[in-house]
């Protein structure tokens, strides 16, 4: 019995040690490969660097109409962003008329901002410069190929647009010179393309193709620009931020370093204050941190700077749970109970306190998550995960390990239990 428990205890320490090691440096176990936490955890913009923009629609629309247009705008922005090749972009509608775009890890910030922030107004004009169609009439714009397999831009107009385009082409198709058959495409007052209508061609189905000496990149760029101009609402840049990767990395390293030092301080303090239970608490705290990091990876929650602060705070809560329990055990020991019954009684009494204290904070965390945006949300996510993990470790892990070590009968000295 005793021997078996000793083996279990050592095994737990070994596994925790191994996981801790792997979370720092990664580990290869035959087929399985454990990636270091640093490489696996999703980093927020503030840590990884990148761009974020909040756009606000300049419109008087409300209710369902606004909602519909916003969803449309969002999908157009998504398409624009796709063209940038960002791995994990975040594009969300915030409130009624705002769109938040986060592009982590992006290097060419200028291009990205240009592309997204552009509140372009797209117009198709006749040769005299009269506006015939606007971007609102463009339903689709994508890179395609012409009959000679050369890159081209395929356009499709909506019903209204198709009608207007048919009228325009009907008039233009009869003109003799090329100059008389141009249909300039104007973006923000500047022509981005001046296609010439083929002589005799009337486009009545709303499907047009712009051909020319395009490279693939040029064609897709033009297609994107036309799409970009098709934003159903005028969007204004409310807030934008470019964080260089250098600043991000420095933040991460420094914060990890700071957290490490704080943790070592806590670990030492717990052992000094509570001896054997303190050592148990340190193992439990290590498990707690592994749990939190693990669930953040699983939930794909991104770690932000305020998130690190939330993490530190929940570590404080986790320590508190252990402190509350151990102080109770100390009281029971002083009242003359044996170590075993003191641990039992101490736990029973402390758990209620720990639950009440943590649940109230949890309520605050959930509210924060619900109402918060951006950095505040990042903070709330880690706090909520942290409190749940702290409850789990305090209620189960600390208790189990403490009982295990008592069963080993290492010592009967109460002092080693903090009393």
């Amino acid at each position: 019995m005793n021997k078996r428990n000793a083996v279990i205890f050592l095994l737990i320490i070994a596994v925790v040690g191994m996981l801790t090691y792997s979370s720092f440096y990664g580990l290869n176990l035959g087929k399985f490969e454990l990636v270091p936490v640093k490489d696996d955890i999703k980093l927020g913009l503030d840590l990884e660097g990148g761009v974020f923009v909040v756009l606000e629609a300049q419109t008087d629309l409300t209710g369902e109409d606004l909602k519909e247009k916003m969803i449309e705008a969002k999908s157009i922005i998504s398409e624009r962003v796709d063209g940038l090749g960002v791995t994990q972009p975040v594009i969300v509608i915030e409130g009624d008329k705002r769109i938040r775009i986060e592009l982590p890890g992006i290097k060419n910030t200028q291009d990205a901002l240009d592309m997204i922030g552009k509140t372009a107004k797209l117009e198709f004009t006749d040769p005299q410069g009269n506006v015939v169609l606007t971007g609102e009439n463009v339903r689709k714009s994508k890179m395609g190929f012409d009959q000679y397999k050369k890159p081209a831009v395929d356009l499709q107009f909506d019903k209204d647009g198709a009608k207007k385009f048919a009228e325009l082409t009907k008039i233009l198709s009869t003109k003799s010179t090329d100059e008389e058959r141009v249909i300039p495409i104007i973006l923000d007052g500047k022509p981005i393309s001046v296609p010439v209508l083929q002589r005799g061609l009337i486009i009545s189905d709303g499907k047009a193709q712009i051909t020319g000496k395009f490279t693939v990149d040029e064609a897709s760029n033009l297609a994107t620009l036309i799409r970009a101009g098709a934003l159903p609402l005028e969007m204004k840049e409310m807030e934008s931020s470019v964080i260089g990767p250098t600043l991000g990395l420095e933040s991460l390293d420094k914060s990890v370093y700071a957290a490490g030092i704080g943790l070592i301080g806590i670990f030492l303090f717990m052992i000094i204050m509570y001896r054997i239970p303190g050592f148990i608490a340190d193992i439990a705290l290590t498990i707690f941190i592994l749990l939190v990091l693990g669930s953040m990876i699983l939930m794909k929650a991104s770690l932000t700077l305020p998130g690190i602060a939330g993490l530190i705070l929940s570590i404080g809560m986790a320590v508190d749970a252990n402190v509350v329990i151990f102080e109770r055990i100390k009281e029971e020991l002083r009242a003359g109970k044996t170590i075993r019954s003191a641990v039992d009684a101490g736990f029973k009494r402390a758990i209620k306190t720990v639950m009440d204290a943590n649940i109230t904070t949890l309520i605050a965390g959930i509210v924060l998550f619900y109402f918060g945006t951006g950095p505040i949300k990042g903070f709330a996510v880690t706090l909520v995960i942290g409190i749940i993990a702290s409850l789990i470790t305090a209620v189960f892990v600390t208790k189990y390990l403490l009982k295990l070590i008592i069963s080993l009968n290492i010592t009967k000295n109460n002092k080693l239990y903090g009393a």
């Binding site: 934008s240 964080i243 700071a258 700077l305 508190d320 309520i363 505040i376």
Partner: protein, 291 residues
């Protein structure tokens, strides 16, 4: 340790601190960061410390009132804050001038931000809303688990902590930015957590010490839990302090009010929450023997 007897002293200390905060707040207001006021921010790695006057030669052209601060380990970074709205193009133009003059690379532009003033209003609105909602939620929980008066006392202690934290922000000109809200809510969470542990012991002792006065019960409960309060605050402070000492600027702004919050939260759970609860109880039933 007779905390109840000296309660008026503690109330007076807290009131004094809050009044000082209020006076400063009314006379000079908060140090709102651009998250709240709206404006733009540029952070550039210069490679070496550059005199502010030299920086101004470039920035004056765009905004003569720009705020310029040094940052980074060797003060080699410069942060430029302007209230004037510089759009992305303008920001790039400003950086371009620096790039030219000091031979910088693209990577030396550490961050460039623009914040609309409406965002600040929204943050304020959401902050007030979330603190209110969190308070109601916690009050409900405490009422169910304990009783209403415990909840009210805990909330008063919590408002006390938030007020002191706000006073701290005002007096020491700590920048009020978007993580300010997270800091305040953390203080709310910590304050409640700490108070609950003390109240939990009072509740337990109410059953055990049936014949004793409220005063004795509270004093006993506090002395039973005070070591736990101190140890917990100490470990939490250890973690936050190391963030403050070793962390980056953004974390420092956040860590400082948290340090104050933890200290005040611990103080209030002992010296404010319980005495307030005593006042409520003593006003109601006559179970108290005068000390």
């Amino acid at each position: 340790m007779n905390i109840i007897k000296k309660r008026n002293l503690f109330f007076a200390i807290s009131c004094l601190l809050i009044i000082i905060g209020l006076v400063v707040l009314i006379t000079s207001g908060f140090n709102y960061a651009i998250d709240f006021t709206g404006g733009t921010l540029l952070q550039i790695e210069m490679g070496k410390t550059i005199e502010v006057s030299e920086i101004r030669e470039i920035t004056d052209e765009f905004d003569a009132k720009a705020e310029i601060i040094h940052a980074g380990e060797n003060k080699s970074q410069v942060i430029i804050k302007t209230i004037v709205d510089l759009d992305n193009k303008k920001r790039q133009e400003v950086f371009g001038k620096f790039q030219e003059k000091y031979e910088l690379t693209e990577d030396d532009l550490l961050q460039a931000r623009k914040i609309g003033p409406a965002i600040g209003d929204e943050i304020k609105r959401k902050a007030i809303l979330s603190i209110f909602a969190a308070t109601v939620g916690m009050l409900l929980y405490i009422t169910v688990r304990f009783e209403f008066l415990y909840g009210v006392s805990a909330v008063i202690a919590l408002i006390h902590d938030v007020c002191i934290a706000l006073a701290f922000y005002a007096v020491f000109k700590v920048p009020v930015n978007s993580s300010f809200v997270a800091a305040i809510l953390t203080i709310v969470g910590y304050s409640i957590n700490d108070t609950i542990v003390v109240f939990d012991r009072i509740r337990e002792n109410m059953r055990i010490m049936k014949k004793e006065s409220y005063e004795d019960i509270i004093n006993t409960s506090i002395s039973q839990t005070i070591i736990r309060s101190i140890n917990t605050s100490f470990t939490t402070l250890l973690a936050i302090a190391s963030l403050y000492i070793f962390g980056v600027e953004a974390v420092k702004d956040f860590a400082l009010p948290l340090i104050i919050g933890v200290v005040v939260g611990t103080y209030s759970s002992i010296f404010i929450a319980s005495p307030v609860w005593y006042l409520f109880k003593n006003g109601g039933k006559k179970r108290t023997k005068r000390a």
